[in-house]
């Protein structure tokens, strides 16, 4: 937890950055980048979320424990997404057999 007082100016800077990133992500979405549209959109969303977490939610100044909790929840989300996706991705692969 933080008793750190962040200057109001920082909040405004973050706010403007978030708005600019929003406009960028909309702009990029209108350009065809093929598969990379999703990648860029999610990367920008990730940056925006990180800014909110670090500054608006004061995690930059938080205890290591808070950071561990956040990391743990993201890790578990990755487990859920990753292992489920692993099934769907490999479902279409040829079953073992001929080549073995």
């Amino acid at each position: 937890m933080s008793d750190h007082i962040v200057p109001i100016r920082t909040y405004f800077v973050i706010f403007m950055t978030l708005l600019i990133f929003t406009l960028i992500t909309v702009g990029v979405a209108l350009v065809d980048l093929g598969r990379f549209n999703v990648v860029v959109a999610l990367a920008i969303a990730g940056i925006k979320a990180t800014l909110v977490v670090l500054f608006f939610m004061h995690v930059r100044w938080s205890s290591p424990l808070t950071k561990i909790f956040i990391a743990a929840s993201l890790f578990w989300l990755a487990i859920l997404l990753g292992f489920t996706a692993a099934d769907y991705i490999s479902r279409a692969w040829t079953p073992l057999g001929l080549s073995w």
Partner: protein
């Protein structure tokens, strides 16, 4: 009552039980010890309700023909048995009763970090249970406790949505309990109680809380989506729209496999306490036992696909899940080996809690080893959805969790009530339970291996002998549960008064009177040494 037991009138010291009287003082309490007792009452009722459904199942299966009930009724019986036992008994059983009572006491705290949230969690469970029981009374549910789609979303015309709502609400009870555990253990330990001085009971409850916090929300959203699909006609899992029922199974088992560890980790914590206390020895390999709980909490989330081997999951994913399922056995095995090593050359006394601990180790080992059978894809193809699976998870859940729950209940009964239970009756019923349990479920391994599928109300003649054995065992098992119900009630009034530390145990909850005062400790304890500093001497039975 014609004879009044002659007892010297002693001014009972102030404790959490006599601090205030009346229904309101219980229903509005924020004392974690009273909340634990509220949970104990609720859970006991739900346990016997779930047991009643089991009786119906075993009665029907006493004969090969379906003669007692219609197939539809039978479907509802095993569904309700599973739902009540899993979501309303096993998941809250040890954490909400023993955990609630003991976590603050073992770490030397006055209460949980959020006492009102603690009370709220009991109300939430009760409301969830009432809703689920209403669903049962109004007409029941026939999907099995697993709610597999598309049957649950499209075809079943039973009270699936209402039941899902009940379970959804009950899920919040475990989330709130888990949240309280983690925050309490992090912030409220007594001076000197470092992490590696904590009793293993606390470690296992911490690990359990991790699973609760990260798994329960997923079953919540999954059941919510099933409900939304039924009522709002969303198409999330509906194959008619291109939805995928296997996605439901992924989400469901992401919670429901780790949920097995929500049930069994606290049981392991109880057993660690019992084994050390009744063999008067320091636990063998403390840090291995402690950290294996955390390892289980993490690994248990990586194996859920072993429930999908025959569901159309990719073979490659199946291989990985199979391999990881073998790995999750390692930390469990570490615990079993360390308990055994602790027993070695200990001065063992065979009090009732210890009998249950022995029961746990043996039965859990059988359940765990057969778990390795079914984690093997080739064998699972053969035994999937047979009675082999039923037997396997009952060895874990009943042979493991319920045995440890009974052991813990006896062990801490003097602390909770200030009275001893009658040792003779308790030993007798522990024996009855052990015999009844094995007679009920061991034949089911054989039945399953021979090919009897689960969830059928009739079966071929050749399976009758084993089924009758199982039903007979269930009767003995039922008696084994009823005896403690009677004598524990009896002991609350007529039991011998318990001293503050009847077992000569070392953890903090025994350093305060039985029953403890509302504030747990008159002086905040200071911890100066590791847990389990037993000195090999027999306990003084005071």
């Amino acid at each position: 009552m014609s004879t009044v037991p002659v007892e010297p009138v002693v001014e009972a010291p102030r404790n959490y039980l006599n601090a205030s009287y009346g229904v309101k003082s219980w229903l509005l309490t924020t004392d974690h010890k009273r909340i634990a007792l509220l949970y104990l009452v609720t859970i006991t009722i739900l346990f016997f309700l779930g047991g009643a459904f089991a009786v119906m199942i075993r009665l029907e299966l006493a004969t090969p023909q379906g003669d007692l009930m219609t197939p539809d009724t039978y479907n509802k019986m095993f569904t309700l048995h599973g739902i009540i036992m899993v979501f309303f008994f096993l998941v809250p059983s040890i954490p909400a009763t023993l955990g609630n009572f003991l976590v603050p006491m073992m770490i030397g705290a006055r209460d949980m970090a959020f006492p009102r949230i603690n009370l709220l969690s009991w109300y939430v469970l009760t409301i969830g249970a009432v809703i689920s029981i209403s669903a049962a009374v109004m007409g029941g549910v026939d999907t099995g406790w697993t709610f597999y789609t598309p049957y649950s979303t499209t075809y079943s015309n039973t009270y699936v949505t209402l039941m899902a709502v009940g379970i959804f609400i009950a899920g919040f009870s475990s989330i709130l309990t888990g949240l309280n555990f983690i925050v309490t253990i992090h912030t409220m330990r007594a001076p000197g109680l470092t992490w590696f001085r904590m009793p293993l009971f606390i470690w296992s409850h911490y690990a359990t809380a991790i699973i609760i916090m990260l798994g329960t929300p997923v079953i919540a959203i999954t059941l919510l989506l099933v409900g939304a699909e039924r009522t709002l006609k969303l198409g999330i899992f509906d194959p008619a729209l291109g939805g995928d029922p296997i996605l439901f199974q992924h989400l469901f088992w992401f919670y429901s496999h780790p949920a097995v560890y929500i049930m069994v980790l606290p049981a392991m914590g109880v057993v660690s306490e019992l084994i050390t206390c009744f063999s008067r020895k320091r636990i063998f390999g403390y840090s291995f036992v402690a950290l294996s709980s955390v390892a289980i909490a993490i690994l248990s989330f990586l194996v859920w696909g072993h429930h999908l081997f025959v569901s159309g999951q990719s073979v490659y994913a199946g291989m990985i899940f199979s391999l990881l399922s073998f790995m999750v056995a390692v930390p469990s095995a570490i615990k079993v080996f360390n308990w055994t090593a602790t027993l070695y050359r200990g001065s063992i006394s065979y009090d009732t809690p210890m009998l249950y601990a022995f029961g746990f180790i043996g039965l859990f080992t059988i359940g765990g080893l057969t778990g390795l059978f079914v984690a093997t894809m080739a064998i699972d193809l053969h035994v999937h959805d047979t009675y082999f699976i039923i037997a396997h998870f009952h060895y874990i859940m009943v042979g493991g969790t319920v045995m440890a729950y009974m052991g813990g209940l006896h062990y801490w009964w003097p602390k909770m009530t200030g009275r001893m239970y009658p040792e003779g009756w308790a030993k007798f019923s522990a024996l009855v339970l052990f015999v009844g349990f094995n007679l009920t479920f061991f034949p089911q391994f054989i039945l399953g291996y021979l090919g009897m599928p689960r969830r059928y109300y009739a079966y071929p003649e050749e399976f009758q002998v084993l089924n009758v054995m199982s039903s007979a065992g269930a009767t003995i098992l039922g008696v084994g549960y009823l005896i403690p119900l009677v004598y524990l009630f009896w002991s609350m009034r007529y039991g011998e008064r318990a001293s503050s530390n009847p077992w000569g145990a070392t953890s903090l909850e025994w350093q305060t009177p039985s029953p403890p005062p509302t504030e747990n400790f008159t002086v905040t304890p200071v911890v100066t040494e590791e847990a389990y500093t037993y000195s090999h001497e027999a306990p003084e039975h005071v």
